[in-house]
């Protein structure tokens, strides 16, 4: 049986996302030019929540999109066939500040694929990266701009992010395989 430790509970997740929203506001003075893009699948609900939090701060809706990066991955040959999710980007990203949102930052390969995928939609003014958990073990020179929690992990450990939107509770667990 894998050992399971709670890293963030529901309250902590809410606090962390609220802080990230304020950090996004602090970093970006022009509220009009921000778009939030969640990376499928783990990032999309976090992106929606951040969008709502930012709306609460700025007082106007913030565009939120979804990006599937499977077609841009560099490790397609090493895994099974990925389950491709919809990409929904009903706005122009040219000249905008894109905040990419993902649940867990690990090797950085998903983020690299996301940067490539975004290229096909236009040329943002800048791209920032927000993640709920940074678990280390980067294989590429990629660094997040906003981090919910840094969790140094071993490679035999994994991070399990559960969110209300997918039917569970809000919680982040660290699992160690025996």
């Amino acid at each position: 049986m894998p050992e399971k430790t709670t890293i963030l509970n529901a309250q902590a997740i809410h606090r962390v996302l609220t802080r990230i929203a304020h950090e996004i506001v602090e970093r970006n003075d022009s509220a009009q030019s921000i778009v939030i893009i969640g990376v499928q699948r783990g990032g999309i609900h976090l992106a929606e929540r951040l969008g709502l939090l930012l709306k609460g701060i700025w007082g106007h809706p913030v565009p939120v999109g979804q990006l599937d990066v499977s077609m841009h991955r560099d490790d397609l040959d090493q895994h099974g066939v990925p389950n491709i999710q919809p990409t929904v980007m009903p706005f122009d990203i040219n000249g905008k500040t894109v905040v990419l949102v993902d649940d867990v930052l690990f090797s950085g390969r998903t983020t690299r694929a996301a940067l490539d995928a975004l290229n096909d939609f236009g040329r943002p003014r800048r791209i920032q990266l927000a993640v709920l958990i940074d678990r280390g073990h980067r294989e590429l020179p990629i660094k997040p701009d906003f981090v919910g929690k840094n969790v140094p992990t071993a490679t035999n450990e994994s991070i399990d992010v559960q969110l209300k939107e997918t039917g569970g509770e809000d919680a982040v667990y660290l699992e160690k395989s025996a």
């Binding site: 699948r41 783990g42 599937d68 499977s70 077609m71 841009h72 991955r73 490790d75 397609l76 040959d77 895994h79 099974g80 066939v81 990925p82 389950n83 491709i84 999710q85 919809p86 990409t87 993902d102 649940d103 867990v104 690990f106 090797s107 390969r109 998903t110 490539d116 995928a117 096909d120 939609f121 994994s158």
Partner: protein
Amino acid sequence: MTNITTAGWHRKHLLDIESLTAEEINIVHDTTRAFKAVGERAIKKVPALRGKTVINLFIEPSTRTRISFELAAMRLTADVINFSVEASSLKKGETLKDTARNLEALNADIIIIRHSAAGAPHFLSRFLRGSVVNAGDGAHEHPTQALLDTYTIREKKGRVAGLNVTILGDILYSRVARSNIHALLKLGANVTLCGPSTLVPKVFEQMGCKVTYNVDEAIAEADVINLLRIQHERQRKTMFPSIGEYTNLFGLTKARFAKTQPDVLIMHPGPINRGVEINSEVADCERSVVLEQVTNGLAVRMAVLFLVNGGKGPQEIAG
């Protein structure tokens, strides 16, 4: 995150619909939806098959299917070579096996084959290391056509299960009909076949279809009417008396179209013989999705190339 969820697709080849499960057909459909969106962007290309070599081995003449596969491969950033019978060494007496082995010696990753002999793709899949995709083998199967037809139905009607689908025309010589029958039945549609009795043998009832020779009965309750072209090239002259008589008895004329359901979907795999199996105005009416089938065909073929490239075969996915 490196934990990418896999789709549950393990096939290295796409040889027929008969051996697919409903779940696998749905995986192709779901993947198709994502690739269709790629075709609607300003940049219609993704690097999913970068560095892969795709060979279109068309031993039987074809333009639209070959172009569709070619463009699909290009949009996935694969390198694609077209190999047609006119230019091939098959004309000089080389066997299909030798031709395929020669192409494999060029390190082809995916071979798309159309052949006039049923089973040719299955034959190649037994000794080639790469993936084999059937683009039509004789009167046997044309899997990507059935996948795009069922995808189009699902897109337009929201479902396939429970719908009344009528396939009208030359069933006997049609690989499109066979693949469609398999796909529709697996997805839970009610399939009715109709056409001249010489081209729609009763034996199809054993597959689970309804067979009728009364066209008015066949189309009255249909949610979808899929018209098939009369296959002049695969047919002996004696199957029905004349084209004119076929149109009178089985063509989708304006009078017959007027008696169909108001939301019926008119489909045709092309090329259309206007004025023969379908009235020209009916072919262009708003219920006709003929051109959307072409658009969806490209997306389906992108999905299929993407899936078979990732499929390792059951023996290789352990661990």
